[in-house]
């Protein structure tokens, strides 16, 4: 079976600064890939290139067997690729239900009955059916992010992209969002996840991608990555996280 997403020597610059260099990546249907790496290494840009929010400058991008040059009609592609952002970006002037239905109704031209039924099923799956008529500002960050996930899911995408979706959340709300993503992973959905939650990455990933300086420095299964990273850069990166997690108690004087 051909991969769902395939990048070949894919590169992108911001002005004269290269942000992605010769990225080769292939993601199978149903695979959960977690992308790790220091800030500015190109993780988010990589995700944004996959649905055309950013355009590549060199190399090839194939989605579902179809080659996508920069002048592709991205509207078609984006309907098959759900994206969730760090700061949710719900539409503040619409209720929860209107937020979710905008795409299915005005882009996919589905019937209201059909789309609303799916929206309500998804809302109850994330435990927020009772919020369907409220406005985003009345919801907590964690609730807003779960709604944003539902908004993307209601388009019936073939893959979901998560761009640091818990980075703006209070620790208390991280759990409720990560559980939704875990649930999606269990249901066999293809996921690409950029995160700084190491334990979550280890738990959810089929494969870890470590990026540095716009390149994929290392990729392996989560157990090997976390127990025996191969590159020095990845070792350094993981040490910094374990330092925070295993910080020794300050001696009482």
């Amino acid at each position: 079976m051909s991969p769902l997403i395939e990048l070949t020597r894919f590169s992108k610059n911001f002005g004269s600064v290269p942000v992605l260099q010769d990225v080769d990546l292939s993601v199978r249907e149903g695979e959960v890939v977690v992308i790790l790496g220091p800030s500015g290494c190109g993780k988010s840009t990589l995700l944004r290139c996959l649905n055309g929010l950013e355009l590549g400058h060199a190399g090839q991008y194939c989605f579902a067997g179809q080659n996508l040059p920069a002048n592709t009609d991205w509207r078609q592609v984006r309907q098959q690729i759900g994206m969730v952002f760090q700061s949710y970006h719900l539409f503040p002037h619409m209720t929860v239900l209107e937020n979710i239905l905008l795409g299915p109704l005005s882009v996919q031209k589905r019937t209201r009955v059909d789309a609303q039924q799916q929206a309500e099923t998804l809302l109850s799956r994330v435990g927020l059916l009772d919020k369907r008529d409220t406005y985003p500002r009345e919801l907590s960050g964690g609730q807003q992010q779960r709604i944003a996930i539902v908004r993307a899911l209601c388009m019936n995408p073939r893959v979901m992209l998560f761009d640091e979706v818990t980075a703006a959340l209070d620790p208390e709300m991280v759990k409720e969002v990560l559980e939704v993503i875990l649930d999606l992973a269990r249901s066999g959905m293809t996921l690409l996840i950029v995160t700084h939650e190491m334990a979550f990455a280890r738990a959810v990933a089929d494969r870890i991608l470590f990026m540095d300086g716009g390149r994929i420095a290392e990729q392996s299964d989560p157990e090997s990555f976390f127990s025996a990273p191969q590159t020095a850069r990845a070792q350094q990166f993981l040490e910094k996280f374990s330092y925070v997690e295993n910080m020794p108690k300050r001696k009482a004087s």
């Binding site: 991205w74 002037h93 795409g103 388009m155």
Partner: protein, 219 residues
């Protein structure tokens, strides 16, 4: 005086109504065209295409720097001379006020669109919205909430500035009033009437803006 004053207004009512019709006609048409033109201007400026920005900036600066009165003369007296087009005073006033109003409205729309976080655009694109849907469903509705107060300002100025049309021969409500004063010397009464008229023409806009702001605050 009270009874004779009311009598005078009553007798002059058909004449005044004609003037009111012209004033409101010019104002409301100019407001409508300014709104459409302003949205187009604001959206175009928001695209960030350099040559479009250049053209629109020239337009903006011309209407910002040159008084409306000069534009009125230029269109009313100049067009027949230079291009052989003559436009009736009423429509000339509508045209000039619309062009001026669109430049003012357009800057308001542009500012409001710019103040919307980038993420809104990206979230809209990510669910596959096309450009018209993106602006129509996501960006402009949010911009509208931010631009209502300054917009009302522009609209009331359009209503008041319509009185300049007198100078190209349009017999608007002020001109009618002056004619009545010349005949009857009832200047206090007539200017009092004009005072009330312009207040009543502008106040509903302010009131509407307050109602809208309150409603949008709830949602």
């Amino acid at each position: 005086m009270a009874s004779s004053g009311l009598e005078l207004l009553w007798v002059s009512a058909p004449q005044l109504a004609q003037g009111i019709g012209r004033t409101l006609g010019i104002s409301l048409l100019a407001i409508a065209f300014s709104s459409v033109g302003g949205v187009i201007y604001g959206v175009l400026r928001n695209l960030g295409v350099r040559w479009i920005d250049g053209v629109l900036l020239v337009y903006l600066e011309l209407f910002r720097a040159i008084p409306v009165l000069v534009w009125l003369y230029l269109f009313f007296f100049g067009l027949p001379i230079f291009l052989g087009w003559s436009i009736p005073g009423f429509w000339c006033a509508v045209l000039v006020l619309s062009l001026w109003g669109a430049s003012e409205t357009g800057e308001v729309v542009r500012g409001a669109l710019r103040s919307i976080p980038r993420g809104q655009r990206e979230a809209g694109l990510a669910i596959g919205l096309g450009p018209l849907q993106l602006y129509g469903r996501v960006l402009l509705p949010q911009a509208l909430r931010r631009m209502t107060p300054p917009l009302i300002n522009v609209f009331t100025r359009l209503i008041k500035t319509s009185s300049l049309a007198v100078l190209i021969g349009v017999v608007d409500v002020i001109k009618i009033g002056q004619q009545i004063i010349e005949r009857t010397y009832e200047s206090v009464l007539i200017y009092g009437f004009l005072f009330v008229f312009f207040f009543l023409a502008c106040y509903p806009l302010s009131a509407a803006s307050r109602v809208l702001e309150r409603r949008w605050n709830h949602s």
